[in-house]
């Protein structure tokens, strides 16, 4: 029995996304991933006595851009606040964040689950600094005598996007997150490299009896770093809460952690932890006044976003499914558009991209970002098919050849002698030979067995290594067999 028979889930997500800047939010250290521990640090991000923060302009630009992409209101006045709590990965023991006046609020994204769409509300989005990284001496934090602190990540700019508690199923949560991440990726706000931890999710989830309008007691599960983790965690947590409620007990409002290995959520409460963040305005930073010109300048840099792109692709004749697949990947979508500039047949382009080209990339462990087949090369190849210069079958070989050599399709066709034989004289000669060698089939056809024609076409193609123009072969054969 599933929780869904008795309860409805209510879920909201806080998404922390790393903004795509070159430097940290308050100092000039690089944000590059993967440096040796404690080499991307300076007095400011180490929180040494006496240092002061200076805000990175690009952080504000990207936060505005994200807000616009997520249909948010952009604040005219916004400021930073200090969130005070002790943790060894936080050098100043306060995080510079935004409290009561975030830069973005009241937005939404369109989410779609099995053909039904709804709006997933966004309460707010605010700028803040990331903390450092702890490396534990043992297998886990609880099994370690000591830990090492690496402050390279400290001060990397984050945007925290807080959703409304609008999601009612795990599928809706995943759809919301996928759409959100896709939008941020398209907008160029973040690299959205999940495997590098540049997107992290905190989910708030509760259950309520079916038909109830009140919210149940929620738990918060922090620091999930993939869609799979969110799905598995929510599937576990909803069943756990359902079991608690079924027993007539109460869910405790608390923060839990997801244990990936065991596949369970665990309580994080400790006796010594007292939660009181004591927010107050950051005295070391001055407020921001964001005039509407600034917002419009950023708006002008917004590229086409996934939802608009999907609609446009549907308008070009793609099915909703095809449009969804193509736009699910920003690089693939960009590739599609580039091919379309030279070869504007959406269906054909989509088929090749989703089919043969994707298969090649998958097999070669590559992506559309670094696709060895340039968009113009695919377009040229498709044009050659249309002009009858190569057959569709030969084209598959040509594509493989472009993929491995990087050469242009025309050069490959010429080099390998793949050009179609459209010379009637030459074909007639070959066909005569084929007819002479297959008297039985000739007799069968003339005796009314239409199928024999197909065999003969095949023999001609074989003799020409597939280069014969199929239409021409048909025409000549039929004439000769009259």
């Amino acid at each position: 029995m599933s929780y869904q028979d008795k309860y409805e889930m209510v879920c909201g997500v806080e998404t922390h996304v790393e903004l795509a800047t070159k430097t940290k939010i308050f100092c000039g250290c690089t944000t590059e991933f993967g440096g040796e521990q404690n080499t991307h640090v300076c007095p400011v991000c180490l929180g040494l006595p006496g240092v002061l923060p200076v805000l990175n302009r690009e952080v504000v630009n990207l936060a505005i851009k994200a807000g616009l992409a997520l249909n948010c209101e952009i604040a005219e006045f916004t400021k930073f606040d200090r969130k005070n709590y002790y943790y060894p990965d936080l050098p100043k023991n306060y995080q510079t964040s935004q409290y009561d006046l975030p830069i973005c609020k009241k937005g939404w994204v369109e989410i779609e689950v099995i053909g039904k769409s709804k709006k997933g509300g966004i309460t707010r989005a605010h700028m803040e600094e990331d903390a450092g990284k702890l490396v534990h001496s043992g297998d886990s934090i609880t099994a370690s005598d000591s830990s090492g602190v690496d402050y390279n990540r400290t001060g990397v700019p984050l945007l925290e996007i807080v959703s409304e508690p609008d999601m009612r199923s795990v599928d809706e949560v995943i759809a919301y997150l996928q759409e959100l991440v896709q939008i941020l990726d398209y907008a160029g706000v973040s690299d959205c490299r999940m495997e590098q931890g540049s997107v992290r999710f905190d989910v708030n989830v509760s259950l309520r009896p079916l038909g109830s309008k009140d919210f149940g007691t929620r738990t918060e599960i922090k620091n999930l770093n993939s869609f799979t983790a969110v799905r598995r965690c929510l599937e576990y947590e909803t069943e756990r809460q359902a079991a608690v409620l079924d027993k007539g007990e109460k869910v405790i409002q608390e923060t839990r952690t997801w244990d990936e290995n065991q596949g369970v959520t665990l309580s994080l409460r400790t006796k010594e932890e007292a939660h009181d963040y004591r927010y107050f305005p950051e005295p070391d930073l001055v407020p921001l006044k964001i005039d509407r010109d600034w917002v419009e300048r950023i708006r002008a840099t917004l590229p086409e976003l996934p939802a608009a792109k999907r609609e446009r692709l549907k308008g070009l004749g793609l099915s909703a499914y095809e449009a969804g697949i193509i736009t699910s990947n920003k690089a693939m979508a960009g590739y599609f558009d580039q091919v379309m500039q030279k070869y504007p047949e959406a269906k054909v382009v989509a088929n090749w991209i989703m089919g043969d080209l994707s298969a090649l990339l998958n097999a070669g462990n590559q992506s559309f970002e670094d696709c060895p087949v340039k968009p113009y090369q695919l377009a040229d190849m498709l044009l050659m098919i249309d002009k009858g210069e190569i057959s569709g079958k030969i084209a598959k070989t040509v594509l493989e050849e472009i993929y491995s050599s990087g050469k242009d399709p025309a050069a490959i066709v010429k080099e390998k002698g793949l050009v179609q034989i459209k010379d009637e004289g030459a074909l007639e000669k070959i066909i005569s030979e084929v007819l002479a060698n297959n008297p039985k089939s000739v007799a069968d056809y003339r005796g009314g067995k239409e199928k024999a024609l197909g065999f003969l076409v095949g023999q001609v193609m074989k003799a020409t290594q597939g280069k014969a123009n199929p239409e021409l072969v048909n025409k000549i054969l039929k004439e000769k067999l009259k």
């Binding site: 040494l48 006595p49 923060p53 200076v54 002790y86 001055v286």
Partner: protein, 488 residues
């Protein structure tokens, strides 16, 4: 040649005319420091080697015929909450006993660039919290005018070292009066500049929205010369104001005719000692005789400034000092587990006053009390600021005593509330972010009395002019502590 006690302009002339080298000058000051330190105890660190090296470089420049700036080759010392690369910066706290900053504060870079010779780091109340330098985590400093008395604080070492002739000038920091009050107690000139006029980058924060760095000197002219070197916009401090920095010495003109001086009656209220009031009243008469127009005025919200300050400053301090947790720098206590280590480290390495303010500030920001305390205090801050703005629209400057009393005896005040009351005339100025100067107004029973002049935002020049006129026409700056006279 006796150079101790000479003005910066005189010392500069000696160097330029090659009557003395910077190394000789530095040695003379170092000798003087060695002689008086056992009594004064103004220094936490003496940087003899670094000083002589810097002096040699200036001498080389002079020898090569280079033109040197007004501070080049002249010794000075810094309050020990200003970060100096490679030189231990303790904030007079056991917490930072061995802290060696990997960077220089902006004011330090600017003084280095000006060729200044750093001879040491000066004692203070721990993390600049206190008004007597008795809260130093190391030792108290004595007042050169009476060794049994406090030099004031928190920049007690900065004021005492200048008064004792150990350095021609020093830098201090002022959050609620920490430059002006010790300047008053030690009979020297101390300026708290407009908030944002001097970069705070590298000043170990106490209360970020109130802290400012400023010079302590024997004379007004010296003060203007030092401000010339340290003031001005700094991109490393977001609260640093881009303004057109004048040459402050250009204001030193012996004329206050027509200057409108307001005397706020609230600054002559409860707690003001009769003998201090008498000196200040005499100073007011002097200004009148010199042609200034004096009028009484009112700043009705002044009585609320003190409680507002003692909410805002501890609140900011509780957050600013959270970083001292034993993790990546500073003292670490041995204890089992992270939380215990952190709690024990802070309990052992912070002194009583620091802990008290952290407790007070944490409470003021905590859930359920924020509106009643912190937010209320910020609103009161607005009212205090508006009072000043209204009055400064009518008057060029305001005049008051710097402190309600003269320097008190070491150990005399132990109750925190009584101690906090001593800052009642200086605190409102920090809340408003205005510039103010304290200068010797006269003496009572052989102890200096300080007069505070408050100006409009970025009107340091006008403060200097008024202070200069008073100084030149009274000559109190020529008085030196008995301690130094005996030695002559």
């Amino acid at each position: 040649m006796k150079t101790v006690g000479k003005s910066l302009a005189e010392l500069h002339k000696l160097l330029v005319n090659k009557e003395i080298s910077s190394v000789e000058l530095t040695r003379e000051y170092l000798d003087h420091i060695r002689e008086y330190e056992p009594k004064i105890k103004a220094f936490i660190t003496i940087t003899e080697d670094e000083a002589l090296k810097q002096a040699e470089e200036v001498d080389k420049a002079i020898a090569q015929g280079e033109e040197i700036g007004p501070l080049a080759g002249i010794p000075m010392a810094l309050k020990d909450n200003l970060c100096t690369e490679g030189i231990v910066t303790t904030c007079a706290s056991q917490m930072l006993r061995d802290f060696n900053p990997p960077y220089d504060a902006t004011v330090v870079s600017r003084l280095k660039a000006a060729g200044a010779v750093l001879v040491g780091k000066l004692n203070m109340d721990e993390f600049a919290m206190g008004s007597s330098t008795e809260n130093s985590g190391y030792f108290p400093t004595a007042n050169p005018w009476d060794l049994s008395r406090v030099p004031g604080g928190s920049s007690g070492g900065s004021a005492a070292s200048v008064a004792a002739g150990e350095v021609p000038y020093s830098l201090g920091s002022d959050t609620g009066g920490s430059i002006r009050q010790p300047a008053a107690f030690c009979g020297v000139v101390g300026l708290k500049p407009t908030y944002g006029a001097v970069s705070r980058y590298g000043l170990v924060a106490f209360a970020s929205s109130l802290d400012q760095i400023g010079p302590l000197t024997r004379t007004v002219e010296d003060n203007a010369l030092v401000l010339n070197a340290i003031a001005g916009h700094d991109p490393l401090d977001s609260t640093s104001v881009p303004f057109n920095k004048p040459d402050y010495t250009q204001f030193l003109e012996n004329n206050v005719r027509g200057l409108k001086i307001g005397v706020p009656k609230e600054f002559f209220g409860l707690g003001l000692k009769q003998e201090v009031a008498a000196v200040i009243e005499q100073a007011i008469k002097t200004f009148e005789q010199l042609g200034a127009k004096i009028e009484e005025c009112s700043l009705p919200h002044m009585e609320y400034a003190l409680p507002a300050y003692y909410i805002i400053a501890p609140a900011e301090c509780s957050s600013n000092l959270a970083r001292y947790d034993g993790v990546s720098y500073g003292y670490r206590a041995e204890a089992d587990g992270m939380i215990e280590m952190c709690k024990t480290t802070r309990a052992k390495a912070f002194g009583q006053e620091v802990k008290r303010r952290i407790m007070l500030g944490t409470y003021a920001l905590s859930s359920g009390y924020y509106d009643a305390y912190y937010l209320k205090a910020q609103k009161v801050r607005t009212l205090v600021k508006q009072d000043f703005e209204r009055v400064l629209a009518q008057y060029d400057i305001l005049l008051s005593p710097t402190t309600p009393t003269v320097a008190y005896k070491l150990g005399e005040i132990s109750d925190p509330v009584t101690c906090y009351m001593g800052d009642v005339y200086t605190i409102p100025v920090n809340l408003a972010g205005l510039p103010a100067i304290s200068l010797p107004a006269g003496f009572t029973d052989g102890l200096p009395v300080g007069m505070q002049l408050i100006g409009n935002y970025f009107a340091e020049g006008l403060l200097y002019r008024a202070a200069y006129v008073f100084e030149q026409n009274t000559g109190y700056y020529k008085e030196i502590p008995g301690l130094l006279r005996e030695a002559d």
